[in-house]
Structure formats: structure tokens, C-alpha cells
Symmetry: C3
Subunit: 150 residues, 3 copies
């Protein structure tokens, strides 16, 4: 399901659970508005490219700023969001990077309101290891409902 | 939670993550309409038995055809679907087959629309290994909301 | 994301998948109304503390009774519920207990109806091992939408 020009292979169990743990912490930081800690889960020049936005967000400083703004707007609106990452297909490339294709579901709840599914996406990440820790070096997000399906 | 007449035991970590990876790829193929590759994740005589349909679908050719029809109808309607498999209880039987009982959630998004939870199901699979790869040999799906709960 | 006064470390793969399997069975027992078996997945003095309820439920007998009442009410209403636990951040404390912070999603479907997201929560568990098996010794649940987000 990942880039077929790459020589990749499904990862073994230890790596797979490490990726699951990584995303759990990564998304909990995001949803808690812990912007700087979240940005540290990207490489210094990490890139976040949502297809439905005009420009990618590049670098930890810009990534943290983006989360800070979004989180402030959500708090002002009285909304909490939960990002679920699931159905992880994880492949290791020859250069040691991990190529992940997975689904993302964003649940939003307004204070006093009912939970709603705000977004369903496909997320394609390249993860690399720096000083022993996984980091997102590139993220591409495709939001369902934006393009006509094929 | 699986058939109590079988002598089963919860599987160890390597197998558990292999099953998770298997379902990730399996569902991504399904949602991408890659019907033939998806059918290859069943045994040749694999059986898909949704309780809310009159007849099970049996064999790779029929399985691929069913997905092809469904995918074409979804594309025509401008809808993308994402199948989430979760809460996997995986047990190994004495004959080496794996018995999985899990939940399935289907999220559908129309082009220009909001994501909706289309279906919540319980999925019971028997997985077997062929030439080193896991395959679904039998799937039974119970859709929530069809029968009166007990 | 867990109590920072504790000396904890992310758990290794075998333990992580064991926790995933544990929750799969735990939630399937709950949703099937198997109240006594579910209560056995807590310690004898296990505590369930939903922040949105006035009092915690303490001890297997009270836990089983609570599930029995809830399940009877759901059956009477013709509703089936599915609890999804995901985005598990699992850390081991020095005393051997596991501290889990994760998200919970509750999907409810009325007979003849469509599935609905009934609740989105954060669940914080302390798991301990008794006679080789994981048990919940303390659960704290925070329901989204109850408090104003920060």
C-alpha cells in the first residue's frame, strides 16, 4: 500500500508495537495542546502536508505554532478533539525509515454536546529514528470527502 | 469469546501484531477497491457470511466480484468507506488456525460531506496460514441493529 | 502522559500486545453483558471512577451489579453498545504495575437504527498482575464534553 518504487517489507512485532506506542503518545500530546512536546515528535525539518490545505507546514517551530493556534481556537469554542490512528500498515525501507499508511479518525465533542466524527483521513508517514526515538519526517494526509473517489 | 468447544489459547505477541498488520493491509485493499488483491487475502474457498445477507459469498472469484460491484456503486455515489477492525481477541486453536473475534466500524464519507458511522459489527474470522501468509478461511459478520440485543 | 511523579517507562512489545488482548476481551465481556466474568478482570477491590458520576464503583460485586443493571436497561431499550479502547500509552511503574492512558469510544446502535458515537472518553487505568493475569485495579474515566477544555 506504500510507495511501490521502494524496497520495503512489513516490520516485525517489536517495531510494530513501538510505532503504535509512538502514535498513542504523539496524538495524546496533540489533543492536549502540548504543542512543543508534540513538535519534538517530528524531525527538526519535519513536514506535515494535508492535501486539503494550500501549503505544507515545515519545521518544529511552525508545527508547534500551528498546533498552538488550533488548540486555542478549539478551547475558545469549547471543543475537545481526539485523534485516533488505526489500521497501521508499517513497512521498513532499505534505508531504515518506516513507511506507514493508516487511517485517522478525529472525534470532536463540544462542552455539553455529543461526540461527532469530524474527519476521516488517510495518513501516510515516513518515520525515522533519531537518538533512539522515532520521529515523523514527513506526513501526508488525505481527507475523505475532499476529492471524488476512484 | 470464541467457540468454547475448541481448545484455544490467546496468541503470543509476534502473532498478534502479525494479525493486526494483516487486517490493516486487508482493509486498505478493500477500501481502495483492489478487489483481486483483497480476494487473495482469503483462501481459495474462503467464505464471507454476513448474517444480514441471505447467502454467504464463497470463493475468491465471487469475493472479488462482490467487492468490485460494491466499490463501483460507492464511486458512482461519490462515497469513500474506511473499515476499522479493532478490539481483536485472537486465539490459536490446536490445528494451528487462529480464531479472531473483533469489532468492525465502517466510516463513510460522501464527496463534499461529513464522515458518518455507517455500520458497527462484530466480526468472527478463522485465519489459516498458506505458504507463510495468513488468509481468511471463514468470516462471519453480525451487524449491530439487525437483531434484538440479548 | 501518565502521573509524572512516578518513575515509569514505556513497556516492551510482549507486554503491549498483552494489554491490547486484555482490553479486547475485557470490552467484549462488557458489551456482551457477561457481568461476572467482566468483574473478574478487576482486582477484588477494583475501583471504577467515572468523573461524571458522583461516586466510584468499588469491588467486583458492585462492578458486576453495575454492568448487570446497565446491560438490562440497554436490552430493554433495544440498544447494543461497543466499547473501543485505542491509542494506548502504556508505561510500567517501578512497582510492576502498568499505567495506561488511552481513548475510549462508545458506539451504540438501536435495533433498526443507525450506529451513533455515544461517548468519547479518556481512560486512565492502573493494571496489576494477579496469578499471571492482568487485572484493572483502578480506572479513572473522563468523558469529553463534561468539563470545559483547557
Amino acid at each position: 500500500m506504500t510507495d511501490t518504487t521502494l524496497d520495503t517489507a512489513p516490520v516485525q512485532e517489536a517495531l510494530y508495537t513501538e510505532v503504535q506506542q509512538f502514535y498513542a503518545r504523539h496524538m495524546q500530546l496533540l489533543d492536549s495542546g502540548r504543542a512543543d512536546e508534540w513538535a519534538q515528535t517530528f524531525t527538526e525539518d519535519g513536514e506535515f502536508a494535508p492535501e486539503h490545505r494550500p501549503e505544507p507546514v515545515v519545521g518544529r517551530s511552525a508545527l508547534a505554532q500551528a498546533v498552538r493556534s488550533t488548540h486555542e481556537a478549539l478551547v475558545a469554542a469549547g471543543e475537545v478533539r481526539r485523534h485516533w490512528h488505526g489500521m497501521l500498515a508499517v513497512e521498513a525501507a532499505a534505508d531504515g525509515s518506516l513507511h506507514v499508511r493508516c487511517y485517522a479518525l478525529i472525534i470532536g465533542t463540544l462542552v455539553g454536546g455529543e461526540p461527532e466524527v469530524k474527519m476521516s483521513c488517510v495518513c501516510e508517514d515516513v518515520l525515522v529514528r533519531e537518538a533512539g526515538e522515532l520521529k515523523v519526517s514527513r506526513r501526508r494526509v488525505t481527507k475523505d470527502g475532499v476529492s471524488t473517489p476512484e
